[in-house]
Every structure is written in structure tokens, then in C-alpha cells.
């Protein structure tokens, strides 16, 4: 679960006996115990419907656990007021599985969103957004409406929006699903760069290639339970609960 470099770093996400259910349905996740330290990098795997998105959505503070304790940046989310939660969310970048861009806004305005909600001046916003759009090779589409972009372009915009604020935690829900291999590698490089700068990264993915190419520990969801595997440890071989 930990690389040597993470040991001793503060825990940024901490779950104790966390369970989540939707309305009166069965628990989608139960008894999740998990501590993510600052600067760690994990893949999150599991079949479709295993609860990857649900787990991430608790981490990015869109949902509260139905039971158990969730601490983010050392704060118990059940005892944190709305404005303080907003401040915590500003330190978390999210790439949604379905992108969640605002269709009527331009690519520029979508990427600028996290900067504007925390009141950054327009001059600085412009500089940062342009820079990043160049980096994801979308500066040509800067003023196009998000709704006119292709799936791959939307995904890159979604990623740019997630990292524009240099977040302390980056949570990505299948971020390389809609892009070709070259771009997938490039995006992985971006995540790794951010991780080296201290960002805690969790990437939900289906891609076995990604997992074998990049040797990071893996959080695996099955039947509502979470198991952790070290790199190069097959899912069958060394099954361990932690």
C-alpha cells in the first residue's frame, strides 16, 4: 500500500468502517478501511458496478458515507460545515467518468472554473488556462463550446480542469477510457509529474495495460469489499486483506 517515500507522510484520506448505500438499497460498499498518505499513487479497479465511482465520490466530498468515519485532510466530514467543505474541495481535483463539462461554456471557461470559484483574478486565470490548454493540445479549440468537442477532447478538457488548481489530491474516474494510447501515456505522465510534486493520486481504471505498465499499488473492489495489492502481485496470487 505504501511506497517507502510515502511512509511518514500525513494521511490525507482516511476511511474507517465506511459503508455507503443509495436510498433503501443494499450497501454498495461496506466496511471500507483505507488510509491514503500524501504523495501516494493508487489504481482503483473492480468490475463495472463494483463501486469505484461511489468510493471516489466520497473522497471528493460529493457524498457522505452512510456509516463509518471519513476524514479528508484530517477533517471529519460529518462535523465540517458547508463553507469549510468547499475549501477542502478546492484542494481536490476530479476527473469524472462522464466528464461533466458545462456544455454551453467554451473549453476555456470550463477549464477556468476551479480558479474562478475561488475568486482568482482574470489575468492570472487567462495565463494559467492558456498554458494548460496548450499542454493538452487543445488551444485551437479554446473558444469552442464544450458540446462541440469530441469524446477524447472532452476528456482532456476534464483532465485540464482537474489539475488547473494544482490539487493536493487528484481523483480520476477512468480518465484514459476515451483517448488513444499516445494520449493515454501522455496523461499518465501528467499524473505522475503531479504525484512527484506531492499530489496524492487515485485512478480508477479498467485497463490492465495501464496497471502493468505503471507499477503502482492497486485498490481492488469486489462484492463491496476493498482489497489492496502491491505492484506485480496478481489478483489471484497474493490476495490479502488489509
Amino acid at each position: 500500500m505504501l511506497r517507502h517515500s510515502d511512509i511518514g507522510n500525513p494521511v490525507v484520506i482516511d476511511m474507517k468502517n465506511v459503508g455507503i448505500r443509495y436510498d433503501l438499497g443494499p450497501e454498495v460498499l461496506s466496511d471500507i478501511n483505507l488510509s491514503l498518505r500524501k504523495g501516494s499513487f493508487h489504481f482503483l479497479t473492480g468490475k463495472s458496478g463494483a463501486g469505484k465511482t461511489s468510493l471516489l465520490s466520497m473522497m471528493y466530498l460529493a457524498q457522505k458515507p452512510s456509516r463509518g468515519v471519513l476524514n479528508v485532510f484530517g477533517k471529519n466530514v460529518n462535523f465540517t460545515n458547508r463553507d469549510s467543505l468547499a475549501l477542502l474541495r478546492r484542494r481536490i481535483g476530479v476527473v469524472f467518468q462522464d466528464f461533466r463539462l458545462i456544455d454551453h461554456l467554451s473549453a476555456f471557461d470550463n477549464v477556468a472554473l476551479p480558479l474562478r470559484v475561488c475568486g482568482m483574478g482574470e489575468k492570472e486565470v487567462k495565463k494559467r488556462v492558456k498554458e494548460l490548454l496548450q499542454w493538452v493540445e487543445l488551444d485551437k479549440h479554446m473558444f469552442d463550446r464544450a458540446s462541440t468537442l469530441s469524446g477524447g477532447e472532452k476528456q482532456r478538457i476534464a483532465i485540464a480542469r482537474a489539475v488547473i488548481n494544482r490539487p493536493d489530491i487528484l481523483l480520476a474516474d477512468e480518465p484514459t477510457g476515451n483517448v488513444d494510447n499516445d494520449i493515454a501515456r501522455k496523461l499518465m505522465k501528467l499524473f505522475i509529474e503531479l504525484n512527484k510534486l506531492g499530489t496524492t493520486v487515485v485512478i480508477a481504471t479498467h485497463s490492465e495495460k495501464l496497471i502493468t505498465d505503471f507499477a503502482y499499488p492497486r485498490l481492488h473492489l469486489n462484492d463491496g469489499n476493498l482489497r489492496i495489492f502491491m505492484p506485480n502481485e496478481g489478483l489471484r496470487g497474493g490476495m490479502r486483506t488489509i
Partner: protein, 305 residues
Amino acid sequence: MITNNPSINRKQELPLKDDTSGIFLKVMISIAVFLFAVTLAGVLSINSMLNAWNESILGSVTVQVMPVNSADQKKAKQETMDHLQKTIEFLKKVPEVEHVRALNDQQLAKLLQPWLGDGIEIENLPTPKLIDVKLKSGAEINFAKLAEQLAAVSPLASVDNHKLWLNKLIKFADGLKMLALSILFLVVAITSGAIFYTTQANLGVHRYIIEILHIMGAKDTYVAQQYARQDAWIGFVGGCIGLAFAIPTIFMIAGLADQIEGGIISDAKLSWLSWLAIACLPLLSAMTAMGTAYYTVKKTLEKMM
């Protein structure tokens, strides 16, 4: 370059300008402001009318005591004086009364001089006796009650008719004013209610965007401000439209009122201050819409995580 500058063309995240509920609110607010303006003009003119009437009614009252008619002049005169005395005694005990003074014969003669000429012997004429009653400053007397009490003290005593009648009119106008004030209150309440429910429905429509803003770390005030700004504008435009219809209407009603004889309604002039208040209504509607929208957003979002 400048023309394509996204920071100049920055769009609001919530496309509130394109919402059809904006048109509904604008129409709603313009009707509300129209009603409010006309009713307010009514309240203000009733007020100025009441002030003018109250001034003439406050301060003093004249009470008259009719002479006793009898063949025996001396006895009749004595009885009249008794009634006068009883009336004066009673009036002195009324709490609102400061000072009571019966007009003497010379003063009466002076009052009657234009009709009867000089050199009349007032004692021998069956003229009513007049009592001048000064009221304490600021005291408001119930004329109807006073008239009743006077009748009990002496059947010959009565309050000046004109004032009694004016007093009844004041009561009526007061009632009218209360009615108008409750209409003003209702108009504001209904409009705020409409803004509350349209805003709440609108938040539902834009839930998708609001969730994104939230996850990006927007505080509730960030969303509330966008609604408040938009609704302030709707409130202002709606208010101006309502006012544009209300002003000619007020003039028309004033014109009709002027045709009523008797000069009673002519006291109902709107002062420039009143006109100023009416002209400021679009600002009031803008502020009401802004405040209600802001409050609604804050209250509604509190239920989200």
C-alpha cells in the same frame, strides 16, 4: 485578439439569462409593481387628505346649546342658562379638553352682526349659545362618543355638525388606508413567493451545473450571487415596466377624483416626496427580487452535501 478575449466575454456558468422563467417573473413583477404603485399613490393621497382634515378637526370644537322655547321668556332664559351651565360642567371633565369658554353676548352679537345689523338686544333673541372648547394639543377626541354623551347631559347640546361628519369621513378613510396597506403587503408577499418557487424550480433545472460548481469548491454564495444578480435585473426591468403603466393610471384616477364636487378630494394631492417614493419602486422591486433569490438559493442548497 481583444474581440476573442474570453475574460471579456466571460459567460456565467448558470445560463440564467436564457431561462423562460425569467420572462414569467418579469411579467409577474411588472404587474405587482403596477398594483403597488397605484395602491401606494392611493395610500399617500389618503394620507395627505387625512392630514388636512385632521388639522381642521384638531385643536378646537364648538358646542352649541339651543335656546328653550317658551311663552315665559324669563323662565325660558333661565332654563337655557341651566343647560349651558350643565354642558360646560360636563365639558370641563372631558380628559381631552384643555379649556372651556362660553361665548358671551357681545361676542355672539359680533358673530351675528353681518346678518342682523347693529344694536340688537341679544338677550331677547332666541339664539343658540356657543361654547368654544379648546382641546389639549395632540389629543384626538372621539366626536361620535362626545355627541352621544352631550345628548345625555342635555338634549339641547350638540357638537358642530361639520366636524362630526368630517370625523366619520376620517374613520372611513383610515379604514381604506388600512385596506390599501394590506394590499401592499400582500403584493410583496405574493411576489416574493413567486420568486421563491421559480428560483427553487430553477435550481432543480440547473442541478447538474450546480453540482459541478460545488465539487469544484464553489461556496453557496457563489451560486446565490449569480441568481441574485440576475433577479435584481429582472426585478428592475419588471419594475420599470409596471411603473410606466402605473403613472398614467394614477393621473387618470386623479383626474376623475378632481371632478368630484366639494373640494374634499382636492386635499388629496401627491407631494413631490410621494412621487419620488413611487419613482423609486423599480429599485424596491429589484432589491426584493435580489434578496428573495439570494435567500432561496442559500436555503435550498443547504440541503445538498
